[in-house]
């Protein structure tokens, strides 16, 4: 689902819900609700809402009373049964798609998506999309299952969202993240840092300025390469993953995802659409468009990124060809002289 379509849908949903909302409902805003529901001393369990996270969700735009219509002026007294909108009230087509899957027999929407925390796909880093899957499908078990047919199963599961393959979305795009070294140790892992860590590094110019040096909110391949080569950022590097371009809840596996060359191939048709996901202050991510092109070439600048069949180095290919041609010189040169002097050995 592209962002304009999503915004329209959100707008229409919001308008229709507002029109349908009875005039008698109180004018209680989200801030009023969070005075109690954001305070751990006053409420607990599912009633406690992380205000900072909730504010970054699309649901926050709707306000609390849009979904919880039964709340009256006398709340919290007298309304022991709190009404809740169902997910399908708004997300009908996604819900119908989900209901056709096996997952629907085991998990409701709320088991994976907490409505007070859920973020749109483009507000996520990419890797974090698997957090929900791993609640039920433990990573080691999934590695063992995939190992039966998938080469480097552990690498694929560590580096890709499950829904890149288990999706109804034919399209896909690359999401780049800035990864940071976790400590000074030589073998330190690189993880995705939070907003504050990157803010401390970038200073007043802002996190995006680490890569977007001309400040036009658009990342060119040159800017990515410049970031890779900048010695000031030697503890930072780019990390990339593939995500579906459309939101889909059909979790069956697309046939073409079984074909390794769907991803492991080089050329102008593949892996060209990319975004940079920058962490934002309130915990989500903001996507910044990246120039169309072979973005993985920029990732190739990072020392531990290599994707067979995709990120091969042209200069290495030339050196390899020269070596192999060198090996052919001996038989060709010697063979020619051998042929020309063959009479000398006829004894």
């Amino acid at each position: 689902m592209n962002s304009s379509y999503k915004n329209n849908l959100l707008g229409m949903t919001l308008c229709s819900l507002l029109l349908l909302t009875p005039c008698s409902l109180p004018a209680m805003g989200a801030d009023d609700c969070l005075m109690c529901h954001g305070d751990a001393d006053m409420v607990s369990g599912s009633l406690l809402i992380e205000a900072t996270t909730f504010d970054t969700t699309a649901h926050a735009l709707l306000g609390c009373s849009t979904c919880h219509q039964s709340i009256g002026d006398d709340h919290p007294g007298g309304d022991s049964e709190l009404s809740r909108a169902t997910c399908l009230d708004c997300h009908d087509s996604l819900g119908q798609e989900y209901m056709m899957t096996d997952h629907a027999n085991y998990a409701t929407c709320g088991d994976c998506h907490n409505p007070h925390e859920v973020r749109a796909m483009d507000a996520m880093a990419g890797y974090d999309m698997n957090d929900k899957c791993f609640q039920c499908h433990e990573a080691p078990t999934m590695v063992d299952l995939h190992k039966e047919w998938l080469p480097q199963a552990n690498l694929h599961i560590a580096k890709l969202p499950c829904i890149t393959c288990h999706t109804g979305s034919e399209g896909y795009e690359i999401v780049l993240n800035i990864a940071a070294k976790q400590d000074d140790g030589f073998l330190s892992r690189y993880e995705l840092p939070d907003y504050q860590t990157l803010q401390d590094i970038s200073g007043e110019a802002g996190v995006l300025s680490l890569i977007d040096s001309d400040g036009d909110n658009f990342i060119t391949l040159k800017e990515l390469k410049r970031f890779n080569r900048n010695p000031e950022y030697r503890d930072l590097r780019l990390a990339g993953t593939m995500v579906p371009s459309d939101v889909s809840h059909d979790l069956s596996t697309l046939d073409n995802r079984y074909d390794c060359t769907f991803c492991h191939v080089s050329g102008p048709e593949s892996l060209q659409t990319s975004f940079l996901a920058i962490p934002i202050r309130d915990g989500g991510y903001q996507r910044v468009p990246v120039e169309q092109g072979a973005v993985l070439d920029a990732l190739y600048g990072t020392p531990d990124f290599y994707m067979v069949g995709t990120t091969r180095s042209a200069s290495m290919n030339i050196i390899g060809l020269i070596i192999i041609c060198g090996g052919l010189m001996m038989p060709l040169g010697h063979g020619l002289l051998r042929f020309l002097t063959r009479k000398n050995r006829q004894h």
Binding site: L155, S266, G309
Partner: protein, 224 residues
């Protein structure tokens, strides 16, 4: 009448290893090319199958290399004698052999080196095989093993400079081994007949016109 002798030059384990290695290395070269250039090469089927084939052939060659190493070091106990050039080889032998291959061979002179079971290789062969069997083969096998275990060995890979450097190193080592193949195959045709050395690697026996009196040449039979 010249006395034709046959020398048992290549014992059975060595011949098995050689042909297993030959088949494995050619498989690795073709499958490796398809893995690197999947949009141009599709000789060996799907990408997944070619990766499995490459990994399997790699493990077979690495294991057969290990057997070869232990056979020569601990069973035949002739590794150092056969593969490490001696002082004489380096001082005069190497030059003599180069002179033969690049000059006197064309004039019709005889090869100055006469292989025996305990001195199979001429000084040039010794130097080339020393580099190939003790440097290129172990390194290409090790880098390959690292690449099939990227997640568990990530720390070691980072220490080596990262996955990209490891992969390029593996690729260039493989190119060096592939470059050796045409030279190797061509040199096998430089016997008295083009098939002589190839037959030796199949049967184990090589024709020799020399009088065999040296006790080290045990295992020879005489034919007339």
């Amino acid at each position: 009448m010249s006395e034709n002798k046959k020398v048992y030059l290549q014992p059975t384990p060595v011949r098995i290893w050689h042909w297993l290695n030959a088949f494995g290395i050619i498989t690795l070269a073709v499958s490796g090319a398809q893995i690197r250039f999947p949009e141009y090469i599709t000789l060996l089927g799907s990408y997944k199958s070619v990766i499995y084939l490459h990994n399997t052939a790699g493990f077979v060659v690495a294991i057969s290399f290990t057997f070869w190493f232990f056979y020569y070091v601990f069973v035949a106990r002739s590794m150092a004698n056969l593969y490490v050039p001696k002082v004489d080889d380096l001082k005069t032998g190497l030059l003599r052999q180069i002179k033969f291959y690049f000059l006197t061979y064309f004039l019709g002179w005889e090869n100055p080196h006469h292989p025996t079971p305990r001195n199979k290789f001429n000084p040039m062969q010794k130097s080339a095989y020393l580099a190939i069997m003790f440097v290129l083969m172990p390194l290409v096998s090790l880098t390959g093993i690292f690449m099939t275990n990227v997640e568990p060995l990530r720390g070691v890979i980072v220490m080596m400079g990262g996955l990209k450097i490891l992969m390029n190193f593996h690729f260039l080592l493989a190119c060096c081994l592939i470059a050796f193949l045409p030279t190797h195959m061509y040199l096998t045709t430089l016997g008295h007949t083009p098939m002589e050395h190839i037959k030796t690697m199949w049967t184990g026996w090589e024709e020799s016109e020399e009088e065999i009196s040296d006790p080290e040449k045990i295992g020879t039979v005489s034919t007339h």
